[in-house]
Symmetry: C2
Subunit: 207 residues, 2 copies
């Protein structure tokens, strides 16, 4: 039996995170994800979303809670998080937050890091900082070696870009850690109630 955390796709994480806020039917997930511009983070397509929900159900991370109906609209199946689902999404975010490979996963983990406690985030991002420093050193070392070897500079342009972006991310991360250390950045699952946020977003989405 595989650990369900290893079967989580980015879309799966988003779905679980949404259900942390409120029970929902798939179509509403699509609307919310679009309203929040989460298509910046991943492609939002019907096919993938419905399939993902089915997979998560089979893995026991969420479950049907009923079928309701709005006026004469088609029926819709509402889903809720299981305890396993609640744990798994947290574990996934904790695992991805320090990882320096795989941008996509990190961006999602960061976007969902508000599900963690502040101290947790500080520690995990501290680990990331270390990993970023190591990656940066590896990178410039590799670049220097390639130049010494006589690799034509034109094929190194993409590598140089990568180094610049690594550098920028390091500075951003330091600034964020400072903000988190001083308490001027409100944080944590308790910084706003889930229902409040959900309702505000739903209202915004309906306008």
């Amino acid at each position: 039996m595989k650990d369900p955390i290893d079967t989580l796709t980015p879309m799966g994480v988003m779905v679980l995170a949404l259900l942390r806020e409120a029970d929902m039917h798939p179509y509403e997930m699509v609307r919310l994800l679009r309203a929040r511009h989460d298509d910046r983070l991943l492609a939002i397509t019907n096919g993938t979303l419905y399939h993902t929900v089915a997979r998560l159900q089979k893995a026991g991370l969420l479950d049907e809670v009923g079928i309701d109906r709005d006026g004469n609209r088609p029926e819709r199946t509402t889903y809720t998080l299981t305890d396993a689902g609640r744990d798994t999404v947290i574990a996934w975010v904790r695992r991805e937050l320090p990882r320096v490979d795989s941008e996509t996963e990190f961006r999602i983990a960061l976007a969902e890091s508000h599900n963690l406690e502040r101290d947790d985030v500080v520690e995990l991002l501290g680990e990331r900082r270390t990993a970023l420093l190591a990656a940066h050193e590896m990178h410039s070392h590799g670049l220097a070696k390639a130049r010494a070897k006589g690799v034509p500079p034109q094929v190194l342009v993409e590598v140089e870009r990568e180094e610049v972006l690594l550098d920028a991310e390091l500075r951003w991360l330091d600034a964020l850690l400072t903000r988190l250390d001083g308490d001027d950045l409100p944080w944590g699952p308790s910084a706003f109630t889930d229902t409040d946020r959900y309702l505000a977003q739903r209202k915004a989405a309906q306008q």
Copy 2:
């Protein structure tokens, strides 16, 4: 009949670009891609690569040129670029170079931009610069609006990171354009012969 350029996957582009250097069999592509650390740009797996080659052949972008054999090793099928393949990879790079969505595609286009003439690259990256500026403005506008709306700052952290990285890329791009304008960065398909590069790499891979 679909335009073959729209069926190109990242791996497909890499395969075509490799064949621009020399005729090759799939297994050698894997070795070269690994030796050049192109797994920084995309996942390199046997399954995907062989399947990709088959698709490219069906699309008429490459073709078999023979089956040879090294000692008692298994036979291997060598492939060569068709004229359509040569044109398509160039067209793809030209199309992806100015695009600001889709990092993966851009990084590959940049890594393969040495297949274009310098003037071409300067123009296309100029377009990219404009697009980046627009994206940056959109982004900070959106951020400001979200803050004004009272969106909790913790959920904006990922968006802020994005803005920082956009900014860094803009500065990198300006530096690159300056280097390309002054002629201190050798460029172009003619800056080194393909065979020379290929042979150098093959030698490096064999050590």
